[in-house]
């Protein structure tokens, strides 16, 4: 437990500078996008004097350090400001969307883990043409554009087979059935496209462990194969699998932007896209900070899990 506590403490301390750097970087990048929010709000052909006046009122003409400091001081008090384009509080907008993205990511993580590990184990154990086929499928999976996969799954399972809806999201509290059905295709798209590296790492890890002396010893001592695989081989192969899964999950945040667009889901990815297009700095900052927190939490969980399955890490 001391090891876990140390990990937690280290991560909390390192999260602070990470959040600061990411927020500053996002602010600068967004501020450098050409254009002005005033014209976005009033329209392209609006009176230039009116546009200038609105930009002044919005404070977008202030020096960048002043604007960032203003945002930072409010953010530290929990106030992420108002959307420049809509005027609505960013906190509220994030609250409306956070559950969508979290359900999508968590579901996809489960799918990627289950499918990836299963395929990897089967591929390692069976070998031969099946192993090579799974390897090939895994490589193919890594190359498939997630956007294309989403459209294909929607065409097949929504349009042709009418099993799942093609678009939209229903809150869990509104209808658990519709919530589940609406998540299946997006989760499967994101999860399946992310399963390939997990499968690859699992296969490699299991094959490595199967070649170790302790496996021969266990077999010689009469342990059945299922016990050897599940209680010993997988456990010893778990550490790098968990690491890859962590990397994959972080990548899913980027993939969620595309998936939310394909399936028209009101998540954080969609908010980031529209905020960037409108040069809505405050909304962009809100999404960036939240995504950073998620990534930090995911990496923390991965490190804790890694420590739990790898005694060498705990004692180092």
């Amino acid at each position: 437990m001391d090891d876990v506590r140390n990990i937690l403490t280290r991560w909390v301390l390192s999260a602070i500078p990470v959040l600061f750097i990411v927020s500053l970087f996002t602010f600068l990048l967004t501020a450098l996008i050409p254009g002005d929010p005033g014209r976005t709000i009033l329209g392209l052909t609006a009176d230039p004097d009116k546009v200038a006046a609105l930009d002044e009122a919005l404070g977008v003409n202030r020096p960048l350090p002043v604007r960032y400091w203003d945002w930072l001081t409010h953010a530290l008090q929990g106030d992420l400001g108002n959307s420049i384009t809509s005027g609505a509080p960013v906190n509220g907008a994030l609250q409306d969307r956070i559950a969508v993205t979290l359900f999508l990511i968590i579901g996809a993580m489960v799918v990627a883990g289950l499918v990836g590990v299963t395929l990897g184990v089967v591929s390692a154990l069976r070998g031969g043409w099946l192993g090579r086929t799974i390897d090939g499928v895994a490589m193919f999976g890594m190359a498939i554009p997630v956007y294309w996969l989403g459209l294909v799954l929607a065409t097949v399972f929504a349009v042709r087979l009418r099993i799942f809806p093609a678009i939209g999201y229903t809150p869990l509290t509104e209808s658990p059935r519709d919530w589940f059905l609406g998540l299946v295709l997006p989760v499967m798209t994101l999860g399946l496209s992310s399963a390939a590296p997990v499968a690859k790492q699992t296969r490699d890890g299991v094959l490595t462990q199967l070649g170790r002396d302790y496996v021969r010893v266990l077999r010689a001592r009469g342990f059945n194969e299922r016990t050897i695989i599940t209680k010993h081989v997988l456990r010893n192969a778990a550490a790098p699998i968990i690491t890859v899964l962590g990397i994959v999950v972080v990548g899913m945040f980027g993939g969620s932007v595309l998936i939310e667009n394909v399936f028209v889901m009101p998540g954080l990815g969609g908010m980031a896209v529209s905020a960037a297009a409108a040069q809505d700095i405050t909304s962009m900052q809100g999404v960036a900070v939240l995504f950073t927190v998620f990534v930090i939490v995911v990496n923390l969980l991965i490190e804790v899990l890694y420590a739990l399955v790898n005694p060498k890490v705990r004692t180092s």
Binding site: T40, R162, F164, P171, R226, V264
Partner: protein, 536 residues
Amino acid sequence: MATRTNARPTRFGGRSRAGLAATAGVALVLGLTGCGANDGTSGDDASGSAASTTNDTLTIAEQNPPNNMNPALADQNADFIVPAYDSLTYETADGVIEPGLAESWKYVGEGNMVFELTLRTDAVFTDGSPVNGAAVKASLEYARDAGGNNASILAGAQITAPNDTTVSIALAAPNPMMPTLLSQGWGVGDIISPTGLADPDSLTTDAPSQGAGQYVYDPEQSVANDHYTYTANPDYYDPSRQHYKTIVIKVVSDQQTAVNAASTGELDVFIGDYTVASQAASAGLTAVSQPSLWLGMIFYDRDGAVSLPLQSVDVRRAINYAIDRTTLAAALFGEDALPAVELAGPTSEGYSTKAAEAYPFDQDKARELLAEAGYADGFSFDVITAGFAGFDTVAKAVQAQLAEVGITMNLTVESDGPTWVGKIVSASFPAGVQGTATYPTFLTCQQVLLPTASKVSNPFGSSADELAELCQQLAQTDADQSADLQKEINEWVVDNAWFAPVAYSSRVYFVRPEVQGVNFLESTGIANILDFAPAS
């Protein structure tokens, strides 16, 4: 559906627990789906995943979210405003102006300078307050001063409300189109309640609408930039016009996604273009379209301040002759696309068949005119265009065609909208390729042709006495007697080659069979979603 698990012994011995778990999982999924989630019936579509098509809910997909939920500031996103904000007048698909919040209107005196409206007495805002003279006056004054795209309609106007049912607008310049311009979709006539005007910054996606419309925007059932929900206003003065209980407008940027959703009944109508026409037809959707803007070149610098060759009408005519509009229109917008020679739309009163036949594709004629103008060896000039909405595609096609007659277009493509506009209004480019709405001719004069027109269309403020006189005459002529004058103006513009249009671009609505009433408004070229109704 039977699920086959491990039927033979494995290394693990016996049937796999994992296989049984997989079987249970599949059974759970099938049970929840009920072997079909999309049975075409409606549920509460506020969140958007259930099918939508019944008399209860109309679900429409737009490609872009609104830039603003304030009627006075909303750009071209009338669909997000019109359901919640009734306008003073109401334009029908036949071009007839019917009563809205105003039950009658008239011009007072001569010259279309004073416009007077008589309000209906039974309309109320969503906060229960009456739609009376004072409220309408305040809303019109706010729209005049707010700086939105259409604020110029009331620029300099003095608005009075001598009593609860009368509003008088004393215009700064003649305007024969006030009944149309105060109708839905133009913004200024969409009346905002005193509560909304007290805090216009509150007119966001987070707050209920503050109008007197057929519907009320419901922020609780909406998510900004994703879907916008409007519920029928129980206090609306004419319930027979409310065809649905709920209208949901979703933002769906990908057209293939929209086709998929419409084919499963999750969308009733979506707005797209010809690139998905065949897929939409296969899905049983009907395409309804009408040209709403023209794409092509505007010769900003007609006086030759930056580019001397463009001062010559022969040079501008030569450019028109050098463009193969028929081929470009088909290549860019599909076989059904219409080539454009004039600024008026094919269905508008000002459309001239004589002008439409002006500049058949003739490269020899183009070279001849260039030689007569002293440019037998050609010339080069700078052109600005935008890297979106297909403008740059049109520009590059025109560039290639002009090169064949010795004219070099130095093309600058600007992908950021505000920056693009900034470059145009700076008057540093002598020409640009862009899209312009097929306005009624009076508005074309005001917004595009006159020295006082929008800087996006006339950055150099170029003018011509004859044209100004024609536009002035049009402003003072009754709208229903001006068809010939409108044609004369369009013919003048084409003859003097102020522009080189290439093709009309259409806003295409893909409609499920369960919906009718998708008809286009003559003044805006867009369909009025309040006319959409369940098919009988």
